[in-house]
């Protein structure tokens, strides 16, 4: 029983954070918002150089062969810097899913390409209808309860669905080439689809933690320097209590997200509840952080010229991605109120439903 991350895990996250400060600074996001995003490919290359796309890939595929726990802090950093590229979907969702079907030759061939970042994949799921698409997309991973498809980008007709978050390039597949053969069907497809959603939701929750902490940090700094009525607004109890309340929500959401990592590879009601709980708790923390940030910044927080809005919009976007509030809330309500698995103080870390 140990809830602490290893030094290696923290160092890798720290290294990514340093990289992000370089390639995904507020200035970079401003350029992107002003329609001059020339850096997408360059960012992708830098992420690839650090090997981030291969964290969950097998070493035999050129990956690091690490586990979900090693990835969760990276997803958090991707949220903290509001990374535009879908690192999380490719490295955290698609790769581990495809590792379940390496028997399929095209998958075996693709995995090393995905791990190196040469191939770029977008993932759609019934609960994630709008895929955040990488630069120079090469493949789609699409699924429903019946079947999972791996398709070349050219084989899919797409519709662009611009987001209020200019850092997300959303597309929706409009039609696939007729008669595309599914990667998997039946039980295998059902399980793949469930695990895809588990990882998508959990690593989205981790991003929400990161973006929430970023907004809290920005608000605290602003509250220290902005003066009103002759003293820093951060010395007023109302401001203090807003931000302290965010800190509380964030602290406990963090524990829930980290604990849920152990469930993403599993199936069954207890894992579904743990993942949905994580998604809800992290989204709530990010939502509160955003509203409190506006309270603290006043009209200033409402301005395009202040960094805050990059992270606020990411928080709004993540709330609806990989299962929206209703989906995850109904999931927890049905399982808990229906006692789908034993509840109680001795059950905190149980895995099996």
């Amino acid at each position: 029983m140990d809830f602490t991350f290893t030094e290696e895990q923290q160092m890798m996250a720290g290294a990514f954070r340093d990289l992000a400060a370089d390639i995904c600074s507020p200035e970079a996001l401003r350029a992107l918002y002003d329609g001059q995003d020339t850096q997408a490919e360059a960012r992708w290359q830098r992420l690839a150089e650090m090997g981030l796309f291969g964290v969950l890939a097998a070493e035999s595929d050129g990956g690091m062969g690490l586990g979900d726990t090693d990835f969760v802090l990276l997803a958090e950093e991707a949220g903290r810097c509001a990374l535009p590229e879908p690192l999380v979907e490719q490295a955290g969702v698609a790769v581990p899913a495809l590792r379940e079907v390496t028997a399929v030759p095209e998958v075996a061939a693709l995995l090393p390409q995905l791990a190196s970042g040469v191939a770029r994949i977008a993932v759609v799921h019934p609960n994630n209808p709008y895929a955040n698409v990488p630069p120079a997309l090469t493949h789609w991973l699409a699924c429903d309860a019946e079947a999972v498809y791996l398709l070349e980008a050219g084989a899919v007709e797409v519709v662009a669905e611009p987001s209020v978050d200019a850092g997300r390039r959303l597309q929706r597949p409009a039609a696939m080439v007729p008669g595309a053969a599914p990667l998997a069907g039946g039980e295998v497809a059902r399980e793949l689809t469930e695990r895809l959603l588990n990882r998508g939701a959990l690593f989205t929750a981790a991003q929400s933690l990161g973006v929430a902490e970023r907004m809290l940090h920005i608000s605290v700094e602003y509250a220290k320097q902005r003066h009103q009525f002759g003293k820093p607004i951060g010395s007023y109890q109302a401001i203090k209590h807003h931000l302290a309340t965010v800190a509380v929500k964030l602290e406990f959401a963090r524990a829930v997200v980290y604990a849920a990592v152990a469930h993403v590879g599993a199936l069954g009601s207890r894992s579904l509840a743990a993942v949905s709980h994580a998604k809800l708790a992290a989204a709530d923390a990010a939502d509160l952080a955003a509203r409190s940030a506006i309270q603290v910044h006043g009209a200033m927080g409402y301005s395009w010229e202040v960094d805050l809005h990059f992270y606020m919009k990411r928080a709004w976007a993540l709330a609806g991605a990989w299962g929206d509030h209703s989906f995850h809330a109904r999931c927890v309500q049905a399982l808990v109120c229906g006692e789908a698995f034993p509840l109680g103080p001795d059950q905190t870390f149980e895995r099996t439903a």
Partner: protein, 387 residues
């Protein structure tokens, strides 16, 4: 017997008249946003149409282009206005804020010069009070107006000025007494925006449009006759204007009742897959909009019986801003994955929800933050000691 909550036959006739006119005149296709130049021009034209129908500001006295209507009539008018989905009022700084202020503090010449063109929508007004270092703490403002014969020479930097990007005139507060502090030595001055030494720069909002502007005064000269009231009376007059802003006119309930009805329809569309708790959020939104409407009529009755608006303004501000935020947050939850889609995205079925949500975020912070309103309530209504 009192608490008689039925409209009189006259009031019902009035409602019917407004409804008929709106049906006949409200543009079928919604106007462009008034935060764009083209949209601003369209909204200016709409104000002319309203004025032509004598609907510009029905509560104003007839001699200024009004109908001398009662507050109840005003509420009925607004109900029909929002029910007809009529355009936003680009003229609101004039008709709700400066207009009443001019009537109370203006000279006959000032009234004659400014009110008719305001009524006709010919001149659109902006408000220039806040400064980078003077937001909630307005008395900290620094912009100066230095007397030079019959003119004032203006220097300073105003910010968060609504409508200013495309408006014609701005009513501002300047420090006219050198070395004066806080509330003293301020004057209320009317300034043309297309004028030498006046530079206006739009501030893009998080939705990307310039909802507000900054105004830079670089030795701009205006006649002393543009000063409203006495020199040094600026704070007193500004507080009166703020009273109008916090009064009943600006945030009439109809807007929220229309939004609540839309939310109910959004719920019905999503009910099958929605978190059942959102049903209670939807019902709460309707109840709150209804409560806000009822309390507005209650306040209107009190005012018409000779009362004056005081700290209720703060109660109203908190209530409508929280109701508006909760209502739009509920809508965003209901829309799920579609909530983030930008206006123009194929799957973005109704862009007004995202725009409304973003607008609602500003509610608790503008026109006096809700924190400040709570302090006012605690001190003025409950009599708690100042901090």
């Amino acid at each position: 017997m009192a608490v008689e909550l039925q409209f009189t036959p006259e009031q019902q006739r009035f409602r019917a008249e407004v409804r008929a006119w709106m049906q006949a005149h409200v543009p079928a296709t919604p106007l462009k946003t008034l935060e764009s130049e083209a949209g601003f021009a369209q909204h200016r034209q709409w104000e002319r149409t309203l004025a032509a129908g004598n609907w510009g500001m029905i509560t104003w006295p007839a001699q200024y282009g009004g109908r001398g209507a009662t507050l109840i009539d005003w509420l009925i008018f607004e109900e029909e206005y929002y029910r007809a989905n009529a355009p936003l009022r680009v003229n609101q700084n004039g008709i709700f804020l400066l207009g009443p202020t001019l009537m109370e503090f203006g000279t006959p010449e000032q009234k004659a010069r400014f009110l008719p063109k305001m009524a006709s929508g010919e001149e659109i007004w902006a408000q220039g009070w806040s400064e980078p270092q003077a937001g909630s703490d307005l008395a900290a403002l620094r912009a100066t107006a230095v007397r030079d014969g019959d003119t004032y020479v203006l220097r300073g930097h105003k910010i968060w000025s609504s409508r200013a990007a495309f408006a014609d005139w701005c009513f501002c507060i300047f420090r006219t007494e050198e070395g004066s502090e806080r509330h003293r030595g301020l004057s209320f001055i009317l300034v043309p925006l297309r004028h030498p030494g006046v530079r206006v720069r739009g501030i893009r909002q998080i939705h990307g449009e310039p909802g507000f502007a900054e105004i830079f005064f670089e030795d701009a000269r205006v006649p002393v006759a543009n000063r409203l009231g006495e020199a040094g009376a600026g704070w007193h007059i500004a507080m009166a204007t703020a009273g109008f802003e916090r009064g009943l006119m600006l945030r009439s309930p109809a807007r929220f009742q229309v939004a609540a009805l839309k939310l109910v329809q959004l719920w019905r569309h999503h009910a099958e897959k929605a978190d059942p708790a959102l049903a209670s959020a939807v019902a709460q939104a309707w109840m709150d909009a209804q409560a806000y409407a009822l309390n507005t009529y209650r306040t209107a009755s009190r005012l018409m019986a000779g009362g004056s608006i005081g700290v209720e303004a703060s109660l109203n501000k908190i209530f409508w801003s929280e109701l508006d935020l909760n209502l739009h947050r509920t809508a965003m939850s209901l829309m799920g994955a579609r909530a983030e889609l930008a206006p123009g995205a194929p799957d973005c079925t109704d862009p007004s929800w995202l725009e409304g949500f973003i607008f609602s975020l500003a509610g608790p912070v503008y026109a006096g933050t809700n924190e400040i309103q709570r302090n006012l309530i605690a001190e003025r209504l409950l009599g708690l000691p100042r901090g």
